[in-house]
Amino acid sequence: MIRLGQYLPGDTIVHRLDPRVKILSVVALSLLIFAATPVEIALISAFLAAVVRAARMTPAQAAGALRPVAVFMAMIFFVHLFFTEGQPLLSLAPLPVRITQEGLLRGIYVTWQFAGLILAAAVLTWSTSPSELVGGIERLLRPLSRVGIPSQDLAVMIAMALRFMPMLLEEYDRLRMAQMARGADFTTGSLALRTRAVAALAVPLLLSAFHRADELAVAMEARGYRRGPRTTLRELVFSGHDLGAFAVIGILILAAMIIKG
């Protein structure tokens, strides 16, 4: 079963931080990374490495977070490698591209930036349960409800989407089994045949998803869900740790500003 958001329960200081602090920190770090010079990138990377360690994540897990975007990262690298003007290192005639020293450095730098962004986001989803994440987003968006953006509804929508994923996967399995039991074949035959067999699942899966959504909506109504004031089981309260985390991020931002002059 796919683990959504890849939340890894734990009891480290990173896990215990208020989700709002973590979300804002990731936003701040992303901005820092975007604006960073190569030297600053190295510093931020060291900071990220320390956070990963504090959250008791292994380097292998960190590498795992980058794997899904590895192709994309490679593309970024090669585009910069081949298409940056400058001191040629290697000419690939007759191809109209050549590798330049600037291209090599630029490729490494941009790819590293990108990896930093992904890793920062990964630490957030590793150390924060989906519900905490949703709760944090809701609280951060709450000021927007004054201008008519329904932050609580948005939070419930995200939560429902997350709740639906495993349900749909189960349903997909069930439908597949039911069709296999009646002789459908998903594993042999030409690609076209297999594609058609899987496509035959799409319609019943979609119908069942709508049906489920309908039932769920009725059940939510029956349990008193409507627009209007709601409270939550867990209230988010800032602790000393959270203030500390804010201070650390603040110092990072200040340092970046001072370096830039």
């Binding site: 079963m1 329960p9 349960s129 989906p130 519900s131 949703v134 939560a159 429902m160 997350l162 709740r163 495993p166 349900m167 189960e170 489920r212 039932e215 769920l216 009725v218 059940a219 939510m220 109504e221 029956a222 349990r223 008193g224 869900y225 409507r226 209007g228 004031p229 709601r230 409270t231 939550t232 089981l233 867990r234 209230e235």
Partner: protein
């Protein structure tokens, strides 16, 4: 007291009436069993009790509040809990405790009170220790218990159960029936849709429905005494002697 008078309902305009003039009183604190063949209108009826469906004609009145009065709907849904047939599609939370908290959260209770109710209700259905589990990792029986805990957490006066023992093994059935008995002892009125009449032998009152009407009402002994009328609409006779 829930008072249903001359309730008529059809799902789509032009479709045949699903409920054809149902009148029924459900007093507080009483365990009412609702039996009848498929398509007799049992589920449609209980969906009217907490304002999920509204009468095409006739009225449904909960403790003096009309379900058609929009300003009462919130209070009616707090007083009348509903445990649906399929537990899978009524679990809302991403974890067990969040699901139980969903109803109390909608009532805008303070966090400490929500926590107290979540703990009490999970203990009541025997699911202490499941708080952080994701719903899709639960067994069918556990999902059923969770769906009950989520409704009880709203502290309703009436709870309608739609075939609460469906798909359960014998031990799971006993557990659910024991919970229902216990809730009733604690003063909650129970409306209990059942197919297996052994499940409702200890109800205070049995209501038999057939094709959108109430056919019979009485104590279990009175109702099960009319075996021919029950067989005529396709139900087994006496509890324990049925053909199952």
């Amino acid at each position: 007291m829930i008072r249903v008078e001359n309730l008529i309902y059809r799902y789509d305009a032009g479709a045949p009436d699903c409920l054809r003039g149902v009148s029924l009183e459900i007093p507080e604190g009483i365990h009412t069993a609702l039996i009848g063949p498929n398509r007799s209108g049992k589920t449609t009826l209980i969906k009217h009790l907490n304002a999920l469906l509204f009468p095409a004609a006739g009225t449904v009145c909960v403790d003096g509040m009309m379900t058609t009065d929009a300003s009462s709907v919130r209070e009616i849904r707090r007083r009348v809990g509903m445990v649906f047939q399929n537990p899978e599609s009524q679990i809302v939370g991403m974890t067990v405790e969040e699901d139980v908290a969903f109803g109390p959260e909608n009532l805008a209770l303070p966090s400490a009170e929500i926590r107290r109710r979540v703990d009490a209700c999970l203990a009541m259905v025997g699911m202490k220790g499941f708080e952080k589990r994701a719903p899709h990792t639960l067994s069918g029986g556990e999902k059923r218990l969770l769906s009950i805990a989520g409704v009880v957490a709203m502290n309703p006066r009436y709870i309608a159960f739609d075939e609460p023992t469906a798909y359960l093994d014998p031990a799971g059935k006993q557990r659910v029936l024991e919970i229902i008995r216990r809730l009733n002892r604690e003063g909650m009125a129970i409306i209990h849709i059942a197919h297996d009449m052994r499940d409702v032998a200890e109800a205070h009152r049995v209501v038999v429905m057939d094709r959108g009407r109430v056919l019979l009402t009485g104590t279990p002994a009175e109702v099960f005494g009319q075996a021919e009328r029950l067989t005529a609409i396709g139900l087994d006779g006496l509890p324990g002697k049925g053909g199952r």
